[in-house]
Amino acid sequence: MRKLIGIVATSIFAVAIGASSAVAAGKSPAEFYKDNVVTIILGAGPGGGYDLYARTVMKHLVKHIPGKPSYILQFMPGAGGQKAAGYVYNVAPKDGLKLAKLSNMLPAFQLLRGGTKYDVSKMNYIGRAASMQYVTMVWHTAGVKNLADAQKAKTPIIFGASGLSQSNYIVPTIMKSLLGLNVKVISGYPGTAAINKALEQGEVTGRAGAWSSWISRAGRLIDEKKIFAIAQSGLEKAGNIMDGYGKPTPLLLDMAKNADEKAILRLLASDAAVGRNFSVPPGVPKDRVKALCRAFDATMADPAFLANAKSRKLLVEPKPCEWLTKVAADIVATPKPLVKKAKALLGWK
């Protein structure tokens, strides 16, 4: 009898949940978002680039979302953003109220490491605020002002890195493998701030990092000519990144010697293109995803947002959701033999 009551109660509960979902699903995006709270989940802690971009974008994005919802941030650091990605993909409600600003490394991580609890090609991207063009910088005491100097360097350039799956490890390692640079990579630093400190203390002589992060967090070092850019990694060359002689820095992708190398470099540079991206998990109603995409586009063109970003020294290089979705799909579709070669170059099994 108790079992029967249990079954009936569960059924009523399921019907009620279904009915409420149907009601929610029947609402227009404006009706749904009105008086609601959108949460943006960050795969990092407060105070860094993720936080800064999320706060700046969300402040203006909600004004363009139909219904003008309120918003909050939720910090979920851990495992280089894997923890947040797993939560967003598998646990978070798929109603369009949970947005995410996840690591740009996820596509490459899914392909190269495997065993991830998410599939980036199934995420619903809503847009990218800026690329994360990785720039290899060398401390002035190393006597290296451009890539040619680095290729001639007899003393190894010592790069600080946080983890083996982070760009600050991948970029110098690839430069060593493909360009034959005299480079040593020391990983294990807790974050970019720690590597910057190590640079200033002379413990390391180089770091690869996102250009957006360099200019917002360590612009002083560039202005004071204490550090020089020698190369950039991304899918497109940024013309405003100059080396120590005032000339544009080369794009690693342009230095590939054959088609295979080019494909590998393209794969490893894809995280730069994915950049400061915003997404919602798969399963969110399409009309809400569309509304969020258009709201994102409108935000990126909003003069108030642009002024706010400028005052915070944030780069704005927007791309729409359709472009980002294609990039993620292209990365995941990389042929397996190339993935194997890329892993070998990085020394991964």
């Binding site: 709270v37 949460t39 802690g45 407060p46 105070g47 860094g48 706060r55 309120s70 918003y71 909050i72 941030l73 939720q74 910090f75 979920m76 650091p77 851990g78 923890k83 939560y87």
Partner: protein, 187 residues
């Protein structure tokens, strides 16, 4: 002399406005504060989400963002950090009792929030105001958060996420741990 007089008048006017405003004191500029809760799979993290949503819906210029930390000890550490510190933290009375003297100096007690796994959970706040925020504005923001946490709507929302939520003074636990109470603390 004239400046001093003007400043005094402005301060007096601010006090009058704050006292005259309703239940939740409005904060002039938007203030974003962070609460360290615990593991993302735990009840305290869910409660943190509810606190965060309540602040967005019922707050006036103050928002509280939830941070999934490693728990009480981690929250004490983060709240007493010099850089990138969190503003609020959920800690057990036991963990607070084990905190270092230097850490306790940076902390003020706000309230007890209930029991989790048999342990009394306390809400603490960072004594120092965030960068570019005045002491007065920070104190008003903290008072507003406490007011939301005590309000009927706030309690209902948090209880829906964590049944164990029962806001109370917790002053004896704070006293036992050697933590001074914040001006906005529940008495």
């Amino acid at each position: 002399m004239k400046n001093k007089l003007l400043k005094s008048l402005a301060a007096l006017a601010a006090i009058v406005v704050i006292s005259a405003s309703g239940q939740h004191q409005a904060v002039a500029a938007d203030m974003e504060l962070v609460i360290g809760t615990g593991n993302i799979k735990g009840k305290l993290f869910a409660a943190g989400n509810a606190i965060s949503v309540a602040s967005a819906l019922h707050g006036k210029g103050v928002k509280v963002y939830n941070y999934g930390t490693k728990g009480g000890k981690d929250n004490i550490k983060r709240i007493s950090k010099k850089k990138r510190a969190i503003n609020f933290g959920l800690v057990s009375a036991k963990d607070l009792g084990k905190a270092k003297k230097k850490q306790l100096k940076a902390i003020r007690g706000l309230m007890a929030v209930g029991k989790a796994k048999g342990k009394t959970m306390l809400l603490i706040v960072r004594k120092k105001a965030p960068k570019k925020v005045s002491k007065e504005a920070y104190a008003a923001a903290v008072a507003q958060v406490v007011s939301i946490l005590k309000s009927k709507k706030g309690v209902a929302r948090i209880k829906a996420a964590w049944k164990g939520y029962t806001p109370s003074s917790g002053s004896s636990d704070f006293k036992a741990a050697g933590v001074k109470l914040h001006k906005a603390a529940i008495m």
